[in-house]
């Protein structure tokens, strides 16, 4: 009876883990939100924008000059390299205050 209980519990925990993995697999990276520190002017923001556009895999950068924010979009199936984004901001002469990867649920295939 004890052995049976262990088998049932093990199967239950495996199924939970599998569910968790499936939910991860069903998410895809939509964009990266980055806030830079140390600047206020548009010339500084443009320096960061140009530097981020040079990061491999980046397809588009939407700047929010007023809030020193940048939304970074990647080309399809390109991995996000947070370190490369941070280095791009630092090369422009500034620092990264926050960086967040935005994920979206994958669309179901019909």
């Amino acid at each position: 009876m004890k052995a049976l209980l262990i088998i049932v519990l093990s199967l239950f925990s495996f199924s939970l883990m599998a569910q968790k993995d499936t939910s991860k697999a069903n998410q895809s990276i939509e964009s990266v939100s980055l806030t830079a520190g140390g600047l206020t002017c548009s010339m500084c923001s443009k320096a960061i924008y140009k530097s981020l556009m040079k990061v491999p895999g980046v397809s588009k950068v939407d700047p929010d000059i007023e809030n020193s924010g940048f939304t970074i979009y990647y080309k399809k199936d390109q991995p996000v390299n947070k370190k490369a984004l941070e280095e791009a901001v630092e090369d422009a002469g500034f620092s990264v205050e926050s960086i967040k990867i935005n994920t979206a649920p994958k669309r179901k295939e019909i």
Binding site: C41, K46, A47, E66
Partner: protein, 272 residues
């Protein structure tokens, strides 16, 4: 000393309270550097009133600037005046302290300049940026808080004999200490919406020099306006005026008109 105190009072009065400024100062450099792997082209036109004759002392200083990495930038500059080609110089600035936060920073940098010049030495003021052969070593500290910025610098400057046998007169002092305080104000735009908006800044700087051996000095005030087009092209118009001075200077007062264009990320590996 009264004129100095008066100028400090005027300076403090103008820039006390809510001040919106940028740190791209006209007569001094901030502690921040230009972006790494970028190149800047700067042309400065100095139109100073000659004290010895009723004419304008014109000086043209073109510069090429290079952001070597995030902390180091280099300038190569040429010195020309309305008489002849005068000389050339190199300038390096290294940012060694950075404390950044959202919309604010505190930075410190060390800089150095070395120059050769063939011009006639006709003033006591030491100026390796256009008039004297020699070198300068200095420190800059710049603080930015939201849109307010304040910068200060101090440097040691040493004049050497100019080329073409234009030697420094034997009794003339060759060691100088320079100091500056700079503030500015962002007038437009009130709110940023795009890189295409023209920025309009006003600035005020105080620039001083002491000749260490003779005790002679000058202190200048230099208001300026600045336009930044397309977040890439900068145009400065400044006027420098001596407030107090007891050393010989040929052309201390006059205008400076400068244009500077930044080419972002032109020296970088190809994007994959």
């Amino acid at each position: 000393m009264k004129p100095i105190l008066r100028s400090i009072c005027i300076f403090s009065f103008l820039f006390t309270g809510t001040v919106y400024s940028q740190e791209l100062f006209v007569y001094t450099e901030p502690a921040s550097n230009m972006p790494a792997k970028s190149v800047g082209i700067r042309v400065s036109n100095w139109l100073m009133n000659d004290k010895t004759e009723p004419s304008v002392n014109y000086q043209f200083i073109p510069e090429i600037m290079w952001g070597v990495n995030r902390n180091l930038m280099l300038h190569a500059e040429g010195f020309f005046n309305n008489r002849n080609v005068q000389g050339a110089g190199v300038y390096a600035k290294y940012r060694f302290f950075t404390q950044d936060a959202k919309n604010r920073h505190f930075r410190m940098a060390a800089y150095g300049r070395a120059a050769v010049n063939n011009g006639v030495i006709d003033q006591e003021a030491v100026e390796t940026n256009g008039n004297n052969s020699g070198y300068e070593l200095g420190l800059i500290t710049t603080g930015l808080l939201h849109k307010d910025a304040l910068s200060a610098s101090v440097s040691y400057e040493r004049a050497l004999d100019n080329g073409k046998n234009n030697k420094i007169p034997a009794a003339q002092e060759v060691h100088a200490v320079n100091y500056s305080v700079s503030v500015g104000r962002l007038i437009l735009p009130k709110k940023y919406t795009s890189y295409g908006q023209t920025n309009f800044n006003i600035m005020l700087e105080m620039l001083g020099q002491n000749l260490t051996g003779s005790g002679k000095m000058f202190i200048d005030i230099a208001p300026a306006v600045q336009f930044i087009f397309n977040s890439q092209l900068r145009v400065d118009i400044g006027y420098r005026k001596q407030l107090y001075g007891n050393m010989i200077r040929t052309a201390p007062n006059g205008f400076m008109i400068r244009a500077e264009y930044l080419l972002f990320n032109v020296i970088s590996s190809k994007k994959k």
